[in-house]
């Protein structure tokens, strides 16, 4: 079987699993039964505090190339932005979004506009709150840092494709005693955010955050589908190791 057909089969099974788990989530009773991610619990607390204080949330989506490898973490970041914007849209100081790619900037404006419209606060929406600040990783960091200083930001969420440059942004947020949460798909970025961010999202936690922020049943269902594949991969790795060990 060709790799292309194998990939197509994998995607079809993935979609079937998501559909099946969505039906399951819709019909099941009780809570969502997801393991706790402390970073997300603290994020929800930080959003509440920012709304009460009248301070601003800053969502940094990174310099992800939407036509390249950075697209998936940027999409996960947009899902988080949608949930944050819905909660904070009624605040005196609505969230500000920074991005480092033209398409991502346009999408973030769309997400903000949609969130405001759906919460009935469409008239409060200001398109200039979603900004393109720099198109390379370091120019993005240089453009995002003044936003933290100048706009009364109390919490900075870095969700997207980031490399080590995110340490500069967390440093700027720490200087204002702000809350920082960061998640990226890059291994170098994850090593840095483990040390630099107050609340790191490691590995797949960035992609799981939507489910924890109640972005919809499909997010929870896709999380369960990922778990099924993860267990299959673990079984495959262990089986491969056993075959190699015992000849």
């Amino acid at each position: 079987m060709s790799p292309e057909l194998l990939a197509a089969g994998f995607l079809v099974v993935f979609v079937i699993l998501i559909a099946g788990f969505t039906v399951y989530e819709r019909t099941r009773k009780g809570g969502r039964n997801l393991r706790e991610i402390p970073a997300v619990a603290r994020l929800i607390h930080a959003i509440g505090l920012a709304v009460e204080d009248g301070t601003r949330l800053h969502v940094a989506l990174g310099a992800s190339d939407m036509t390249g490898e950075g697209a998936a973490p940027a999409l996960a970041g947009l899902a988080i932005l949608d949930r944050v914007a819905r909660t904070a849209s009624i605040s005196d100081a609505p969230p500000v979004v920074t991005s480092g790619d033209g398409a991502l900037s346009v999408l973030s404006q769309g997400v903000l506009a949609g969130a405001y419209r759906e919460t009935g606060a469409g008239k409060l929406h200001d398109p200039s709150l979603a900004r393109l600040v720099g198109t390379t990783p370091f120019s993005f960091a240089a453009g995002a840092m003044p936003v933290i200083h100048d706009e009364q930001v109390s919490a900075t969420l870095m969700t997207g494709h980031f490399g080590p440059e995110l340490a500069l942004i967390t440093e700027a947020a720490d200087r204002t005693n702000g809350f920082t949460l960061a998640g990226t798909d890059s291994l170098a970025g994850q090593a840095v955010l483990y040390a630099a961010a107050q609340e790191p999202l490691i590995g797949e936690e960035l992609f799981a955050a939507g489910a924890y922020l109640r972005a919809g049943l499909v997010h929870t269902a896709s999380l369960r589908a990922q778990d099924v594949f993860r267990w299959l991969i673990i079984a495959g790795i262990l089986a491969g190791g056993a075959v190699k060990l015992f000849g």
Partner: protein, 215 residues
């Protein structure tokens, strides 16, 4: 029948995504069509960049009229942007005037040094962040993290070049084991999680449940 904008945008996103996926994965023999769709995406990305730049200029025009240090930074940004944009517009990215290539010159003598300076600052920030990690989260994992980082750094230093006998051998051995076994295994685990999450994020767009376009 009048469609609401979100329905149209969702349909366009789903259809174009599925078309690219099918053209990529199935042997349809429509390679020219696939290449054409990708070219369209690249052109749209360039248009989106232009929209983003207009947004950037708008934000800084507004800030520059506010006064204070913010205004000075915004005026500097607008001046640099205007200079670079006009040079590229009239001379092209590699064009020259009076023996100077302005866009290349700005890139080589302004953009690169500024980014290099930020990279140097990053080194300091990382050392500070490591020290702060031990103060903020003084648990076993933090000590393992810092200890491993130090051991790997030692493994790439002159201590590992063989001039120090047994110490060099020990450092080289530990460095090699860390990078080959726990670091490689951990990286694979993280990448598997990221890959599955990426697929799920893409599929949610393709089946129309995530609509990051105001839908």
């Amino acid at each position: 029948m009048r469609f609401k904008a979100p329905i149209v945008s969702t349909a366009v996103a789903m259809l174009s995504g599925l078309a690219v996926l099918l053209l990529l994965l199935l042997p349809t023999g429509l390679d020219a069509l696939y290449a054409g769709v990708i070219r369209w995406a690249a052109a749209l990305a360039a248009v989106a960049l232009l929209v983003g730049l207009v947004n950037l200029v708008n934000v800084h025009v507004e800030k520059s009229s506010g006064g204070g240090s913010e205004a000075v930074s915004s005026i500097a940004l607008l001046a640099a942007f205007g200079l670079t944009f006009l040079a590229a517009l009239f001379l092209g990215p590699n064009g020259s005037a009076a023996g100077v290539e302005p866009v290349n010159w700005l890139f080589q003598y302004v953009q690169v040094p500024v980014e290099a300076a930020l990279m140097a600052l990053l080194a300091v920030s990382l050392v500070y962040a490591s020290a702060r990690l031990l103060r903020r989260v003084p648990n076993l994992f933090s000590f393992v993290f810092i200890g491993t980082a130090l051991l790997v750094l030692l493994g790439t230093s002159t201590l590992a070049t063989g001039e120090f006998g047994l110490i060099s051998e020990l450092v080289t051995g530990v460095h090699g084991w860390i990078t080959r076994v726990p670091a490689a295994a951990g990286a694979r685990g993280l990448l598997i999680g990221v890959a599955l999450g990426s697929v799920a994020a893409g599929l949610r767009i393709l089946i129309g449940t995530d609509r990051p376009f105001g839908g």
